[in-house]
Assembly symmetry: C2
Homo-oligomer: 256 residues x 2
């Protein structure tokens, strides 16, 4: 195992399962902390604020401040800010997206926005879709937090943000820029935030199609951990393999 | 011009514009009536009941009863009924769809429906989408009233039913059977309702991509009338031409 100077970690299936921590991951992050190795939690969740995520992780005994969390909502705000610092944005999403847009200093604008920013919104309405479609048809740039098509809930698989976004895509014929995994955009932003480079950084996650593909797409070494979505059997079927595959993060060897 | 025994007519852009009748179309339908030639109004609108449509047309002086109207909601009910007379259906849509499903005698069922029937719903919610996705993932047949991606309103083009439907399609990976134009299903049902055949029936409409393509797809002769969506210039660019193209329905010659 190579020596890495910085680590990007997925959340669900990698450091916790729903409301339960993964002990080996807790120990792993504590080790990163004690060694002074920078890390960032990179999540496709756009509905929660970084404070809410940090609170949850702290509750698991994982050393984490809000600045250690990069949600797709924050990444979406960074993406827009790099293109237009004082952007007028029509944003549709839950608290995580709203807070990210407001913290970035963007003006909420329905009539002539520079950007339409769409994220998971369980309060979605036809009126919100209609406003977004009109703005996209009028030339607003169209960004969406993440392309996940399904989201597990207590009943089964409900629609994810990629599915909700498709109303605007199908109606206008304009495809959004997706910010989240497996797109490399969020990984590039994570590297920037940690002031590290792709060669010195390892991307860690349990889901081949999102976490590992994001790392591969961004040019990072990747570590898949079989504590979540992708089993070792399924992994075998993939044409491009991750750099490392482990059953749990306790198997990782740190260089002194 | 050939002699036809039955006529299928689109509504918006063909017999009226929004809240205003097209005088030549009113005269045309009155002539059909006086000659005893059967006709049916075939509309992709799924939100209104056939009674509401007949009332509107009667208000324009067009001879019309509810039985002269085939909406995509009624067509969807007929399609399901032909496959399972006592179907349990999870239906999502406005009054037109609700009434059509209830009149057909279907039971509304969320847990284990035989069919998910989706139509334009300006009260759409995430919960409705989640229920539909679960049912489709559990094997319910998936039908949608019409594939229109955009719907004009006072501000511009808002999402149509085809765009709203895409949430379920993208999330589950299951494509719906679309009932409305340009699909031939609604035309076949119209022929059945009028007890006529494709060779003896003319499909009339203003929109090449929906009305005329539906006629062509179902094997009927078609008449495009340039009172709505498709101009003569745009029509020239189409590979398959309608049987007739007229500036208005006053140019139609009836055989004695």
């Amino acid at each position: 195992m190579k020596k890495y100077d910085a680590f990007l970690l997925d959340l669900d299936g990698t450091v916790y399962w729903g409301k339960e921590e993964i002990p080996e991951a807790v120990t792993f992050v504590k080790t990163l902390k004690s060694k002074g190795l920078p890390y960032l939690f990179v999540t496709n969740n756009s509905t929660r604020t970084k404070e809410a995520v940090a609170d949850q992780l702290s509750g698991f005994g994982i050393p984490c401040t809000p600045d250690d969390v990069l949600t797709t909502s924050i990444a979406t705000a960074s993406y827009i800010k790099a293109r237009k610092p004082n952007a007028k944005v029509l944003y549709i999403g839950e608290q995580g997206l709203q807070q990210a847009m407001q913290s970035a200093g963007f003006t909420y604008e329905e009539e002539h926005p520079d950007f339409v920013a769409f994220g998971m919104d369980r309060q979605i309405t036809y009126e919100k879709y209609a406003k977004a479609c009109l703005a996209v048809r009028s030339g607003a740039a169209f960004v969406s937090t993440n392309p996940d098509v399904a989201l597990p809930n207590e009943h089964g698989l409900a629609p994810g943000n990629g599915a909700l976004t498709s109303v605007i895509t199908v109606s206008t014929g304009v495809k959004p820029v997706f910010i989240g995994k497996p797109e490399p955009i969020i990984i590039d932003l994570a590297l920037e935030k940690l002031a590290t480079t792709k060669r010195r950084t390892l991307m860690i996650g349990d889901n081949y199609d999102t976490d590992i593909m994001a790392g591969i797409n961004a040019g990072l070494d990747t570590l898949i951990v079989h504590t979540g979505v992708t089993s070792a059997e399924v992994l075998k079927t993939k044409a491009v393999q991750p750099t490392y595959a482990l059953n749990s993060l306790s198997e990782w060897t740190f260089h002194e």
